[in-house]
């Protein structure tokens, strides 16, 4: 896995995702480990307002996660745009999604963290969303899926044996989260309005979306780090041609 040093000591790693370079420009996912060394370096990259925000965290762990991920995001954006880290300013849309406010450039970002890992996705001129989850048990996977997932996904999940259910639930979850974040909507997107397909041995995809446009997106799942599952959704460089590959089951399953 290629690693690239982007500051004196802070290390971020560019992850290999199955997305080929396109004329549309960069589309990449970076990971950063939330550790004391990275946190220390990231602290120097925060703005005064971000220091105030960091100070509000009661938990040292949560503060470290925010500081490290925010600092890494600023460094990655600055490196990509060829500006000083201090010149990068962030903003949030009405749904809370992070964006680059300055310099003005058609660059889109998405940030996720779980456990001791942060992910930063960046794309030129295309919307992008990323999610990561620490693989863990004790989740009410069946309860969440049966209540909130699209029937197509519920059907897919029902095919897995109980011992694999939680793992495939998390695959679905990160894929759905990456898509809703790519749309810039997050939790404001109803999870049953769209379906993803995340088979173990073939490419993941957004199968359908009641709002349309599912075929304009590419979806990739990856091992973000040992014990973590990640997903990135980004708009395709190719023009959309219609709701592609929507199975009969997905069509019937809409509600």
């Amino acid at each position: 896995m290629p690693s690239r040093q982007v500051s004196a000591r802070m290390t971020v790693t560019r992850l290999s995702i199955a997305s080929a370079p396109t004329p549309a420009g960069l589309c990449a996912v970076w990971s950063v480990s939330v550790c004391p060394l990275n946190e220390m370096q990231a602290t120097a990259l925060l703005t005064a307002a971000e220091h105030v925000q960091a100070a509000k965290f009661r938990s040292a762990r949560d503060r470290a996660r925010f500081v490290t991920t925010r600092g890494a995001t600023r460094m990655i954006v600055a490196t990509h745009l060829g500006v000083r880290a201090a010149d990068v300013a962030f903003s949030h849309n009405r749904y809370g999604a992070l964006g680059v406010a300055w310099p003005r450039a058609p660059v889109q970002i998405s940030v996720a963290h779980s456990g001791a890992l942060g992910l930063i996705a960046i794309a030129d001129g295309r919307r992008i969303g990323v999610d990561v989850e620490l693989i863990r048990g004790n989740l009410p996977s069946r309860q969440i899926a049966s209540r909130w997932f699209h029937p197509f996904e519920q059907d897919r999940l029902s095919r897995y044996p109980p011992s694999q259910y939680d793992a495939y639930f998390l695959r679905h979850w990160v894929a759905k989260e990456a898509y809703t974040k790519g749309l810039g909507l997050g939790l404001h997107k109803r999870l049953s309005e769209f379906a993803v397909d995340v088979p173990p041995s073939s490419p993941a995809r957004v199968v359908c979306d009641e709002a349309g446009g599912a075929d304009a997106w590419e979806l990739h799942l990856f091992d973000a780090a040992p014990g973590y599952i990640g997903a990135v959704a980004h708009e395709s460089a190719q023009p959309a041609t219609g709701e592609r590959g929507m199975s009969r089951a997905a069509s019937k399953g809409r509600r």
Binding site: G96, A116, P140, R147, L187
Partner: protein, 95 residues
């Protein structure tokens, strides 16, 4: 303390216990801070989006209510007190 206030206090305590369990599962290497009724849950990153649905599933089964999609707004998930307020409201509505 009225019966309603006692019930609300129990709801807060059970939610705090659930959230403490979630925090410890997220990071087994660290001793998470105790969750208080006013601990920030979203701003602190303690409860991510999966955590929201984990808590919703807990609320549905533990308190016999059904959290509707419309209730999935940040204001209801900011603190234990906010969550308990949502639960008590749903119980009153009989959902």
């Amino acid at each position: 303390m009225s019966a309603l206030e006692q019930e609300a206090a129990i709801v807060v305590a059970r939610l705090a216990e659930k959230l403490s369990q979630m925090a410890s599962l997220q990071d087994v290497s660290a001793q998470p801070d105790a969750i208080t009724p006013t601990s920030p849950l979203l701003e602190s990153g303690l409860m991510d989006s999966l955590g929201v649905f984990d808590v919703v599933a807990f609320i549905d089964s533990a308190f016999g209510v059904t959290v509707p999609q419309e209730a999935l707004v940040p204001a209801n998930f900011r603190t234990c007190n906010a969550l308990a307020g949502m639960v008590m409201s749903l119980k009153c509505q009989g959902t």
